[in-house]
Symmetry: D2
Subunit: 451 residues, 4 copies
């Protein structure tokens, strides 16, 4: 409680400017606590009923913007409790029986992050769905596949998009694992040592929808692993978004010109009217830093803290709130933005200025005619240099030119095309249309399950 402190200290210590966000969870926890206290005859049914009624009306006050949050009351717990006291008098003071702010805040955070993680799963699913639609709608578009940002081998655009689908699928799994470890009731741990009342923790868990009950009170009040784990999973998701963002930025550049984004997701310039900047993608790429930074912040804060609760831990909230808001908006903005993408099929095709991306296929051609791979690689390497030096495509070379490099080349070398290259990669996970259609179907199933 910060009553009587000077303004500076109040401002420094008060968490109410940010933990007010937890008011629903805080009240929900208190409702369950009150019910349990009555059930266990620690307080009377009448007291419990009064408390429950009081809390319910406080929730309404907050939701309707009528509640006056007071920094001198430090945090959401004391703001709610003090208001309850104004309403009920001394009865209110019974709510805090068999409870401490230490297990209370741990409870609030777990309730909150469980909800947020579920929402994140939905957002991830929605972005997957939007990538999937774009892939489904462009199944026959062949684009250059890159390594080192150099054109390497042709791939289907749909295959490329599904790579991001797979990343997001792993993200969903990670958030689910994290959710599983968040799903533990800390209430009953008291300040640090457990409480001296005959409370029913299993009842509390059922009431509040927790799958497990914490097994060590000291750990339960000083554990923020679930916060860090949420931030780490978020950092990976943002890393994936930053990669997708980078490609969108490249693909909308004048030099690539592969796609156009709907005008709603680009902005103009204050000085250069011709521009359509991919601001949403850029900003998401930039926000990756923020989410990484929040992870580092919480890890640093928790470093070397002795048991049990320390005030340092109050720092977990603003960081994870910032992370989840960033993630939530970014995932939504991407899902919508992807829905507006138009593929410039002509520019994509024109990007294959020469057909050197077929070099691997030429080498594989020679292997299938009997050359060991390394030897085939050497031959095609020399052939490529010859073609490049003469500024010719492979398909423009004559058979006798081919044969200068190997007698194994026959007329069927001209059957090697972008299309044949794609078709040949017909193994699970490969870019052939058949495989990609299998992958699209599998992806469709995954997004249509509940996230």
């Amino acid at each position: 409680m910060l009553e009587g402190k000077d303004e500076l200290v109040k401002q420094y210590l008060a968490s109410i400017p940010f933990d007010r966000r937890l008011f629903r969870q805080d009240i929900r926890g208190s409702l369950a606590h009150a019910k349990m206290l009555a059930k266990q005859r620690i307080i009377t049914e009448d007291d419990a009923a009064a408390i429950i009624k009081g809390l319910t009306s406080i929730q309404q006050e907050i939701e309707q913007g009528e509640f006056q949050f007071r920094p001198e009351l430090e945090d959401i717990h004391m703001n709610v409790e003090t208001r309850l006291q104004e309403k009920l008098g001394d009865i209110a003071g019974k709510l805090h029986t068999a409870r401490s702010r230490n297990d209370q805040i741990a409870l609030d955070m777990r309730l909150f992050l469980k909800e947020e993680t579920s929402r994140t799963l939905t957002r991830l699913n929605d972005l997957q769905s939007s990538l999937l639609q774009l892939a489904e709608a462009n199944q026959d578009v062949i684009m250059p596949g890159y390594t080192h940002l150099q054109q390497a081998q042709p791939v289907l655009l749909a295959h490329h998009l599904l790579a991001y689908f797979d990343m997001l699928q792993r993200d969903k799994e990670r958030f689910r694992d994290c959710l599983n470890r968040t799903d533990v009731l800390p209430l009953g741990s008291g300040a640090l040592a457990g409480v001296t009342y005959a409370i029913d923790r299993d009842f509390l868990a059922r009431e509040l929808g927790f799958g497990k009950v914490s097994t060590n009170s000291l750990d339960a009040v000083s554990d923020r692993d679930f916060v860090v784990e949420f931030e780490a999973a978020s950092a990976l998701t943002m890393m994936h978004l930053s990669r997708l963002a980078e490609e969108i930025i490249l693909w909308t550049s004048d030099e690539f010109g592969f796609i156009q984004i709907g005008e709603a997701y680009t902005t103009g310039s204050s000085i250069m009217p011709q521009k359509r900047n991919p601001d949403v993608a850029e900003l998401a790429r930039g926000k990756t830093g923020r989410v990484y930074g929040n992870l580092m912040a919480t890890l640093t804060t928790m470093k070397a803290l002795p048991l049990a609760y320390n005030r340092d831990m109050q720092e977990d909230k603003e960081r994870v709130f910032d992370t989840l808001d960033t993630l939530d908006l970014s995932l939504q903005a991407f899902a919508e933005m992807i829905r507006t993408v138009k593929v410039n099929v002509g520019r994509v095709r024109a990007a294959f200025r020469k057909d050197y991306v077929l070099a691997t296929d030429l080498a594989d051609y020679l292997v299938k005619k009997g050359l060991p791979f390394r030897e085939a690689h050497r031959v095609v390497s020399e052939l490529s240099i010859y073609a490049m030096n003469n500024d010719r495509c492979f398909r423009e070379l004559t058979l006798s030119e081919y044969n200068k490099f190997s007698p194994l080349f026959g007329q069927d070398v001209y059957d090697i095309t972008l299309e044949s290259s794609i078709a040949a990669r017909n193994i699970p996970g490969g870019t052939s249309l058949q495989q990609v259609q299998i992958a699209l179907a599998r992806a469709r199933q995954l997004v249509e399950r509940t996230p």
Copy 2:
């Protein structure tokens, strides 16, 4: 291949100084690949047999220190392949059929991290075991429980130690989840688009012990999530060790004096002969920074990389090697160090200079006599100030002094002791001996399962 490059570039690009560590995984992958190529009739049985024999002898050469690693051959793959060529001539060149260094390195890293993760699980289990032993051996020791590093309520030392046990249990779960996502075969993805040969990826997965096969070739060669996830799980484990380290450092200080560490785990001073410094604990606390930094490094490296493979990704190895070595040594050193801990029961007891840690119990006493908790808290707060101002313990106050603060205090207030306080916290997760013994038994079961 770096032949003909100048020294500086060789030094800059060559990964062989660190990826040589993957030689077993690299050869193991090649053995399975050769078998599969033969089974699929992509190469002959004879060629496969020669390749397998050659690879086996190369493994021996490396293990016996007879292998000459050459930086100009860039990486472990080309060092092994070139040696194979020296042994077999052109046949060796067939091994690289239907494979690229991009899916090969992804395979090596996954094989390697699967093994390392299993080892980490064993190490975590062993440290749990060592904490458990210490807890079992000191079941009746009551120590001050702290919040804000201020004495708060009495707890059992065993309960305190089990808090760390629980943290490590979560660590094991996280590493298991991570292992599950590492357990995916990338081989067959080729450079980025899949291969043009009729390979059998399921056979490869079975041969190499993978539970799943990757579903998108572009993703499979550019995915380092499993590395980041290992580093994130390690960061959390090191955070837990840093907290334990901090407490060990506090507890061995002159001022606390709660424990002594075996001399093998302390060092003296070059100038102050009387000192026994807890260097192992300090260094582990310090190494937390390194493991956090490695996580940050890999996340940063992966930020905004377009698909598919980019040379930046080579940076994943040294960071994760450093992390796993740090983690491995730290877990071992802690497990051994904890085994040498002697508890100074006298100093622990003496730490309760006054019995103010019983304040919560006094408040609970009043609640049970009918006072609302908040009112009880206020009464005990005033009582505490009175006692402190008079430099007296609670137990030294007379009943009439008690009664000045509340008429509810009776003779039985003197029954409130450290022991009664412990006993009263008899709810699941609480510090009562009964609950702690349940927790010890549960913990014993957990460590005796395979990790």
Copy 3:
């Protein structure tokens, strides 16, 4: 401009919720720009006068809370400019001549950080001043000096406090160097390539108080080094505060008990009325993570951005605002908290449970009698073990006991005391009272200069 965008995109892209903080700098820059445009006859004197009047009244509107910030206008620049247009009509549109939002935001940030850096210097100076006062008031208090948190050698408390003074002095130097690199006018760089009007950049620099003018327009609009450097300097300062915080937390613990903090800077417990938790120190220690995280965030955001301006850079603001607010409040809270510290001289003295901290002095004694240092160290080491095993202080040993370890010990060995140990360290930077008084006087001079 975000007019017509949907709510999600507006919310994602709009910077006005945070860059409105720059309104004074933005208007100040515009005032100077308008004056310059008139002076260079790019706009008329009358237009300039109208613009200046309009901007001045907008500043008043904002300061008086009458200004309506509109997210659809995206940022502070367009909010101000649009309001100017409402006031002046088309004339307002002339203000943006020879300027872009890219050089404008670079200007605003530099103006802002110059002011903030100056304020930081004042805060650092004030904390130094408060540490200095505490040191001056406790010049004769001898405390244990620690290495590895083990008592090592006696030091003056004043000497210990001055160590923090020196850290903060380096911080001031770093912020001054950073200020020097922030003090560069970017205006005139346009969007990226410079402007096509005959502007006078030197005039702008003088008007706005800049010491230098940027020399490359592409760099000027895409440089955020000065932001990162501010964050790095802040991270070091927070690291110093975290160390001081750690010591305050230790020193106020029951086990150390060296100091008491004024009640205004501690908080009680919701459940344990006896506690006085050092929350301000704990929270500052925790906030170190936040400031480290912000540094990492901005570094990550800037990684691998091609020239020139990219939308990612918008992310610099919230991070650095958070850092400077954290730093500002933390420095203030510490300065005030330190002013309330009471030293418990008795507990500090009592901490020397035995006099083993004199071991180095005993070794030096033997050296001065002719023994090589390493040999002296060995002798005192054995002596220490003997004393510890017998639970005796050095001063309780008889001379004949001493002589069992070395014949060089004479009666004067009993002259070695905590006081003599302090006095003997009479070299520059040492802990003798004489040296410490020199250091106090030097420190006094440093804080009384302008920061």
Copy 4:
């Protein structure tokens, strides 16, 4: 000292595997210390002479690879001292008089980083020189200037390259400031409290080339600010390299095709013989993560350490060694790589597919004819949309088409070209040839000074 410890502890604690790198600095410090001890008559001239001779021969042994480093001797200090004892017997033990390993390691690190910082300055200068040469050799090449990776306005390639020159110039300044704070002698601080001998610290400073002497012994042995500051300056430099790397990767892509890098700085593919991957640039971009991570690591390690020396600090070395090696190689590799760059002038010119980059110039044209800037911007915006929708360049529009948008357009609108656009930006810092030549001359002067 780790004699008698088990292998695990030895391996964990021993710093000799990495601090052996400091052997020259360690011996140099000892030589100065011995001289000073003799000068102050703390040891005899004869002893000093013997010690100096012994140390000199040890240095030779190490340099010639004949020295046997022993982990059980823990660190470089004890390895050298023990060898000295083998050579000189007891006299060797006198060297450690008035010194501790705590001030000794602080000295070694400062000596080492002073040298490394000077080397870094030279490397930075060399890279600047190589960028400058490329700029000088391509003064008349006009390229698209980008914001948001969208073509914005034409700039000179030389101007673009000089933006990196300016970044590196700031880097040099930061390293110089850092050097200034590293240039402080810690020797004489002893273990933590100063020494009890009449040493001459000014003499030591002069002997070892330090400009200042530390003023507080506790701070001097526990200060690692100079390490963090070196890492922070390195992080900024790597950030700059990562931006340059990104552009090199873009510019060598098939889609941009602006430059070619010498073959020595690219690598081929194991499977795609046609590729020339910009591996050096990619790897440098990737290594940015490593350097950021090292900064984070050291900051984390130092967080919340109480005074004075703690074993955690041993962790500073490997991180900063890794950073400086990375920086050193990266700067060298870039300087050499830039020297091999060939500009494909044709592709650069062809990148201006349309002349929309002249839009700002068109707007400025209208402003100069009397339109307020915002109005001019609006007109050109509409004109641009018209041109784009009709797939025409500005220069292909007829004057009557122009006049549909504004009557102010006259025949002279066709004088607006890429060349006129460049020429018009003739203000300090702008991209006109005249300004760029001034900047080139200034840059030439800066690199020809000593770095």
